[in-house]
Every structure is written in structure tokens, then in C-alpha cells.
């Protein structure tokens, strides 16, 4: 009766309708799930929504949660411009946190306080880039699949953090628990006004726009776009695609590593175990939902923050087990991914031949 026809282009209106539609569908499916576990969705949605959106703490929570997701999501999105899958944002985030911690512990006293934040920012960026240079180099010059190398390096980075936390960096003043001592105040990311939201969020937004500008209006951005479309065409055009792959993956890791910096310097002010709640892996979802668009990740990082914080509130308000939250998140992802069909295709009445 109907068949699918590929759209030549996707108007903005369709993008908005499909995205909103899929979220609404997820909420409907979610309400079934809630009803099954004995919660009235008609009561739960508005009350949780009110706690998030009509409450100053709610907004702060959302922005805090959004920050690392934005940075890891942006990192993944950068790699995706060349159809590279950076599954290693989690490890890059850990490495970024390790770099920040090392700099903060080592130089807090030695250096003028004004230099600390720039040093943390640049140092972490460079360290993340160097870490990502391993899979980047292997991919560019040896053709080693970056999905597996970035994934495996996650485990290495986490073990490295454990090694330091259970060894050299253990702070005797916290009864030898696996956490470092607190950074000096010069290494704290400042808060915005009198809120609990730190400057990591504006940093992420600025980086997102910078990435967009880089892609849109620079020569290298042009090369990346061409190569992302068709690698061999870029080769023909005489671009050095090996260098492009390398640079893009390194940048991707460097940006994701900043998420580690904003978490330890902005929130915890020390390195401790399990400080990331799969922010790196969630970054893949953030990027994907934004169809890897650098500005789009700002919106999807916010959406994921809403899901996390909303899920937490559901837990607190209705005593739901965490399992329900995972199910809810899974449902939402499925509907959003499934609905993408309608972005690239439209239903058309089948014409009799």
C-alpha cells in the first residue's frame, strides 16, 4: 500500500516534528511502563516536570548534569564528521581528570593563582589529545579499527586512575580512602553567579560553536566535510586524508578529556573513584541523537540531562528502582533512533506499475 521514498532534503519543520514526536511517543510508552509498576503517569509527569523546570535547583541540576555530557558528546561528534567512531570518550574523560589532578596537585602552590585555570585547560586538552593520538595514529597510518582501540583504552585509563588512587595519590588525611587530597582553590572552576553551576557549561557551548565555525568556514573544515562525505573523493582531490583522520580523532579526544577537567575541577575538586557515570558512553548517544551536529549536541546533552535528573526524581518521589529508569532511557533511545527513518524517508502511496 505504502512505500518509503528517500527524501532529497529534510526540511527543518520535519526535523522538529519528528524529534518532538519521538519524544512524545517515548513518554507515552514510558507512561505505560510507569503504570505497570504502579505509578500514575498523569500525576508523575507534571510533578517531576515541575521539580525540574519550575525550580531553581532543578535548573542547576540540569545544567550541572548537562556539562560533561555536552563535552563528551561534542568529542564524539567531532570524530563522527569523518565517520570515525570514538567509543573512547569515557577513557579520555578519565585521562583528562588525571591530567587535571596532576597539574592541580603539583602546581597549585608553585604557580601564580591566575595561571592555574588556563594551565589546567590547556594541559588537559593536550593530554587528552595525546591519549587519543594512540588510536588516531594507529588508525591513520596502520588502518587499525578505531572502535576497538578507543573502547579498550577506556579500561586502561580507568585502571590507570585506580593505580594512582590506590597508590601514589591516596590522601592519608582521608583515612587512606582512594581519593586525592582536595585541590587548592586556585584550581576550582568558578561558579556562575551564586549558583552551583560552574563555567564548564559555557566552555562547552563555546567549544560547540567553535567546532561549528571550524567546520563551516575554514579550509580544514571544508576538507573534513568533503572527506566525511567521501573519503576516496577527498584522496582524489589531493587532501592528506591520513592527516585529516589523525587530527580529527585527536581533537575529538582532547575535547572529551575536558569533560574530565570540568568534573574534577568544577564539581569534586579532587579525583576519586567512579567520578564518571558513564558520561563517555552517554556522549555517544548525545552525539548520535544530534545526528553528530556540533550545535545539536547542546540540545541533546540537555535532553539526556533531563532524562537522568528526571529519572532520579522519579526514584526519589515514587520509590522506583533504578531498573525502571534504565528501561525508560532505553525506550526513549529506541523511539528516537527508530523515528530517524522519517527524517530520511517519507511514506508514499505505492504507485501501481
Amino acid at each position: 500500500m505504502f512505500e518509503l521514498e528517500r527524501r532529497l532534503e529534510t526540511p527543518l519543520s520535519v526535523q522538529v516534528v519528528v524529534t518532538v514526536g519521538s519524544i512524545v511517543l517515548a513518554l507515552i510508552l514510558g507512561s505505560v511502563l510507569l503504570a505497570v509498576v504502579g505509578v500514575d503517569p498523569i500525576e508523575a509527569y507534571p510533578s517531576v516536570g515541575a521539580l525540574m523546570f519550575f525550580d531553581q535547583w532543578g535548573w542547576q541540576d540540569l545544567f550541572l548534569k548537562m556539562t560533561p555530557l555536552l563535552l563528551t558528546g561534542l568529542g564524539v561528534a567531532i570524530a563522527a564528521q569523518l565517520n570515525l567512531w570514538n567509543i573512547g570518550a569515557e577513557g579520555q574523560l578519565y585521562l583528562g581528570a588525571i591530567a587535571t589532578t596532576w597539574l592541580a596537585l603539583e602546581y597549585s602552590e608553585a604557580l601564580d593563582a591566575h595561571f592555574m585555570l588556563p594551565i589546567l585547560l590547556i594541559g588537559t586538552f593536550v593530554a587528552g589529545g595525546m591519549w587519543a593520538a594512540i588510536p588516531a595514529g594507529l588508525r591513520s597510518w596502520f588502518g587499525v579499527n578505531e572502535i576497538i582501540t578507543t573502547l579498550l583504552l577506556n579500561y586502561v585509563a580507568i585502571s590507570l586512575a585506580d593505580y594512582l588512587l590506590y597508590g601514589a595519590w591516596r590522601d592519608p588525611s582521608t583515612l587512606n580512602f582512594p581519593m586525592t587530597r582536595s585541590f587548592g582553590e586556585s584550581s576550582f572552576l568558578p561558579m556562575i553567579g551564586s549558583t552551583t553551576v560552574h563555567w564548564g557549561l559555557p566552555l562547552g557551548i563555546i567549544l560547540a560553536f567553535l567546532t561549528w565555525v571550524l567546520l563551516k568556514s575554514t579550509t580544514i573544515g571544508f576538507q573534513i566535510r568533503v572527506a566525511g562525505d567521501n573519503l576516496s573523493a577527498a584522496d582524489y582531490a589531493g587532501f592528506n586524508t591520513k592527516n585529516l583522520l589523525f587530527i580529527v580523532l585527536v581533537l575529538s579526544g582532547a575535547v572529551a578529556a575536558l569533560a574530565g577537567m570540568t568534573e574534577v575541577a568544577g564539581v569534586h575538586h579532587r579525583l576519586q573513584q567512579n567520578f564518571s557515570i558513564n558520561y563517555g558512553y552517554t556522549g555517544i548517544i548525545v552525539s548520535r541523537l544530534a545526528r553528530n551536529h556540533p550545535i545539536g549536541v547542546i540540545g541533546t546533552a540537555f535532553l539526556l540531562a533531563v532524562i537522568f535528573v528526571g529519572g532520579e526524581l522519579l526514584q526519589v518521589e515514587y520509590q522506583l528502582p533504578i531498573a525502571v529508569i534504565y528501561l525508560f532511557e532505553g525506550l526513549l533511545l529506541f523511539t528516537v533512533i527508530g523515528s530517524e527513518l522519517f527524517l530520511s524517508y517519507r511514506l508514499r502511496r505505492r504507485v501501481a506499475v
Binding site: L175, H268, Q272, L313, V316, P321
Partner: protein
């Protein structure tokens, strides 16, 4: 129409935070793991259920990452819970931060060391029970080789390994304990493999410092013995399970609840011992002879009465040097930061 409005306003009122009267405090818990972990978090949740059975209104939030705990705590405090128990070391600073923001709410943090006007901390002297189960192991071993599966090397775990080893050697000076670290808080399959490695190397009794029943089951499969941790694990291998050191958090939670209800609560650091029943050992397995049971129970009474102290000099370190000088009783602070092995432990602290 009016009826509708009434329904709506009643519904609205139900949403508003209920400011409970002090007479009936509402209690909330946050857990670092799922209540289904069968160990640490499970034990705390049994404590919560104990309150619930008393008719207390309780709630819990499970699997709260330490980094998210501040937000969850704030939400619980805003919802009008009067007592909030935070049951992981990593919640310490977040608890303190939120305690400062909500001076009317009482916060109790487990296993840390910070306090505030409205924040106390609590823990149980599990090492006392560990000493007792160590005695059982020391008397039951035939190979004089007892295996211990460690999770991550933090002072609490090291303290427990030491207390266990002291218990073993108090009755069997020839025996040693061999430690394998699995570097994970939770990985039952790997714990099972570690139990096998220990038994392959001659251990005939294994115990764990993580929560899962993997060691008990592995021992049962091989016809050897195991000692459970945090909760009675005899279910998982009755023929292998000698005994277990266990928590009874319900006793402590009831105590705090009553204090708050009566208005007698004051910020303090509670470290409850075996005399309170908050820590204990589980019923002995059938294979533990009566004379061993009696010996252990006699020692339990000595510990409960304060007549016997598990950590009291002279205690030798792993290399035979003096760790605690003769006659010295280490402070709680010393115990809480213990990072060395006593004599008789084989292996390295990573």
C-alpha cells in the same frame, strides 16, 4: 465544576512536600549499589525494612553514584525526610554540603569521619566479628592455608583481613592467610575464579571481603569450606558455609530513629561493636564441632564485655617487625586508617 476544582486542589496538596511532625520522623536512605547486590547495600536495606515493619515511613534511592549523591540528597531533604542515612564512604563530602544547606534535617553518614551540627557518622566494628570467624577458620583448617579474596585495598578491608588473620593465628599459630585482590567491588565470576586459584594453591577454607556468594559456592563445589561476609550465605552452600560475619543494621537504625523521635539526638560518631548486636556472626554450620563453637562464643563474650581487644599490642607486622607495641591499644583513628598487614598474611597490598 466545584467538585473538580476540589479534586484538583486536593491533588495539588498531595504533591506539596509534607512537613512531617517531629513526632513521626520520615526516614530516607541512599545506597551506592542496587538493593539486589546481596551484600553491603542489601544489609542496609534489611535495616530499612526493619524500620518499615515498625510502621516508620521510609524511602530509598539505590545505585546513586557518589558524584550524583549531592543532588539526590538535596531532593530528599526538600521532600521533607527528617533523617537521611547515606551509606557509602564517598557520600561524605556531599552529605556535609547538603547538611549545611538543610539544618533542620538530620544526616547520618556511614563509614566516614566528618560531622556537623546536624550530621553524625556511624559504623560497626565488623573487625570484631572477623576475628571470631578467623578463629573458626584457624581451628577448622587442615592445610593451615586459608584464602582471602580482597576487593580494593582500602583501610576497612585491610583491617578486616588483619583481624581475621589475628583470629586464625590466635588458635593456630602455624596457619597463614593468602590474599588475592580482584580489584573490583563487584564481579562474582572473577571472585569465583579467585577462590579456585586459592584452593588450587592449597587453601582449604576461603573467605571474601566482597559481598557475593561466589566463594561459598566455589568451596561447596570442591567440597571445601568458606566463610561468608556481610550476610549469612549458608543458603548458597550449607555444607561449605562454616559461619559468616554479619551486619544487623536494623538495631542501629531503630536506635537513631528513637533518638530523633524523642528529641535526644545529638551529632556524634558511633562505632558500634559486637555488644550491641549490630555486628554478629551467623549460626555455625553443622560441621563445626561443639567445642569450637563454645570457644568462639566465649571469646565473643570477652569482646562484648571489653575484656578482650582484637587490636592490642604486641602485634607484629607482616615482616615480623613491631606493628603495635606491647600494651598499646590503637586509637579508632589508627584503626580507621590501617594500611599494613599483620604477621601471617601472605601477599602484597597493591
Amino acid at each position: 465544576m466545584i467538585k473538580h476544582l476540589l479534586t484538583i486542589s486536593v491533588a495539588l496538596m498531595l504533591w506539596l512536600p509534607n512537613f512531617a511532625s517531629a513526632a513521626d520522623p520520615k526516614v530516607a536512605f541512599i545506597y551506592v549499589g542496587p538493593v539486589g547486590d546481596g551484600g553491603w547495600t542489601y544489609a542496609h536495606d534489611l535495616g530499612r525494612q526493619h524500620l518499615e515493619k515498625m510502621g516508620v515511613e521510609t524511602t530509598y534511592v539505590e545505585s546513586v553514584p557518589e558524584t550524583d549523591s549531592e543532588r539526590v540528597l538535596r531532593n530528599l531533604a526538600r521532600r521533607g525526610y527528617d533523617i537521611i542515612f547515606t551509606t557509602s564512604f564517598g557520600y561524605m563530602d556531599p552529605t556535609l554540603n547538603v547538611a549545611k544547606q538543610f539544618p533542620e534535617t538530620i544526616f547520618m553518614h556511614a563509614s566516614g569521619f566528618r560531622t556537623h551540627d546536624n550530621m553524625g557518622n556511624y559504623f560497626a566494628r565488623m573487625y570484631q566479628a572477623r576475628y571470631l570467624v578467623g578463629m573458626v577458620a584457624g581451628m577448622m583448617t587442615k592445610t593451615d592455608n586459608i584464602g582471602i579474596i580482597g576487593s580494593h585495598p582500602i583501610p576497612e578491608i585491610i583491617r578486616h583481613i588483619n583481624a581475621f588473620t589475628l583470629g586464625v593465628r590466635s588458635v593456630n599459630p602455624k596457619a597463614t592467610t593468602q590474599v588475592i585482590w580482584v580489584n573490583s567491588w563487584f564481579d562474582p565470576a572473577k571472585e569465583g575464579a579467585a577462590a579456585n586459584s586459592l584452593m588450587d594453591n592449597g587453601a582449604d577454607i576461603v573467605t571474601i571481603t566482597t559481598d557475593s556468594a561466589a566463594a561459598t559456592q566455589t568451596a561447596a563445589k570442591r567440597g571445601l569450606y568458606a566463610i561468608g561476609n556481610d550476610s549469612d550465605m549458608s543458603l548458597y552452600g550449607p555444607e561449605a558455609h562454616l559461619t559468616a560475619n554479619i551486619f544487623n543494621w536494623g538495631i542501629y537504625y531503630e536506635h537513631v530513629y528513637n533518638q530523633v523521635k524523642n528529641g535526644t539526638w545529638k551529632s556524634s560518631s558511633d562505632w558500634w561493636g559486637i555488644e550491641t548486636g549490630a555486628v554478629d556472626i551467623s549460626p555455625f554450620g553443622k560441621m563445626v564441632p561443639k567445642n569450637i563453637q563454645d570457644l568462639v562464643m566465649a571469646k565473643k563474650d570477652e569482646i562484648a564485655s571489653g575484656e578482650f581487644l582484637v587490636f592490642k599490642g604486641p602485634v607484629k607486622g607482616q615482616d615480623g617487625s613491631t606493628a603495635i607495641a606491647a600494651g598499646v591499644v590503637p586509637s579508632d583513628q589508627d584503626l580507621l586508617s590501617m594500611m599494613y598487614y599483620v604477621e601471617g598474611v601472605v601477599g602484597d597490598i597493591p
